[in-house]
């Protein structure tokens, strides 16, 4: 994005000048200090509490939506137990729309095993 701004010598604002709105109600990017810097203005806006809540949907609606989405897999209710690794791979493959090679361990995966750091922050 900065690359496209390299020739920017004028302010760029969100769809400016709507009715009864001042410049400061919009997000804006302006050049400053002899074009050696950009100043972006993005005032914090309050999001209504109702918008932060989960969408209200019943179990039936969710199931119907899942059916419509043509999910090729019925998610089981209980804990999954696989007797054979091939079944597990088949499950993962269909769940993630990938091929089987993604899920069988390769020698390189064993080599890349991460070692736990001895302290936080590293």
């Amino acid at each position: 994005m900065l690359r496209t701004w390299s020739l920017l010598r004028r302010p760029v604002c969100q769809l400016l000048q709507r009715q009864n709105k001042s410049t400061l109600d919009h997000d804006c990017v302006v050049p400053a200090e002899n074009d050696r810097m950009y100043v972006a203005w993005h005032p914090e806006r309050d999001i209504p509490y109702e918008h932060t809540k989960p969408i209200s949907a019943t179990r039936r609606e969710i199931t119907a939506a899942a059916m419509n989405d043509s999910t090729p897999l019925n998610l089981p209710k209980g804990k999954l137990v696989f007797n054979n690794i091939r079944n597990e791979v088949e499950y993962l493959k269909r769940l993630t729309y990938t091929n089987k090679h993604r899920w069988f361990t390769q020698p390189k995966d064993r080599r890349l095993k991460r070692r736990a750091h001895d302290r936080d922050g590293l």
Binding site: P11, T23, A32, E33, R36, V39, D118, G121
Partner: protein
């Protein structure tokens, strides 16, 4: 008749040709344009930002700093682990002067690529110089009984960010 090589002809033509009218030049219409709108928008935005800077009403600042080939997003009281040995003692304070970006809730200062050193200041204190975890490098050759293990640990310098401040208003 004089025959001219095609390449020479092309270069002659390009040197003689008149620049064609662009679509932009043709599209001149009688539209009313506010000549001062751009400068007014710049002035309004910078005024609002400077107002917050002067009164100190902006929220906690964060900055993106460039240190030892890496970028860190820091804010006051952060601890960062820099993968190097720094020639500073423990407890000494340093100033990180390559600042790519400094921002608060309402505004962001974006450098091209760096911000002015007088404008934004970021200070950090060296709190620890330690080593990371141990790496083992194992070398092995088949059928020769050659086996070697080498161990090494990387150096880390832990910095505590003391604070970020904007020293002066913008464009002043």
């Amino acid at each position: 008749m004089l025959r001219v090589l095609p390449s020479v002809a092309r270069s002659l033509a390009s040197s003689l040709s008149v620049r064609p009218l662009t679509s932009k030049a043709q599209a001149v219409t009688g539209e009313i344009v506010d000549q001062n709108r751009e400068s007014r928008v710049i002035k309004t935005v910078l005024g609002a930002v400077n107002d917050q800077i002067e009164k100190g009403t902006h929220s906690r600042l964060f900055a993106v700093i460039y240190l030892h080939g890496k970028q860190f997003k820091v804010t006051a009281e952060d601890i960062i682990a820099v993968n190097t040995v720094m020639p500073v003692g423990i407890g000494e304070t340093i100033r990180l002067n390559k600042i790519l970006l400094a921002a608060s809730t309402d505004f962001t200062l974006i450098g091209r690529p760096l911000l002015d050193q007088d404008l934004v200041r970021v200070y950090a204190t060296v709190i620890e110089r330690t080593l990371g975890h141990e790496y083992r490098i194992f070398k092995f050759r088949q059928r020769t009984r050659y086996q070697r293990s080498y161990f090494y640990r990387q150096n880390y310098t832990m910095l505590r960010i003391n604070g970020i401040e904007i020293a002066r208003p913008i464009d002043q």
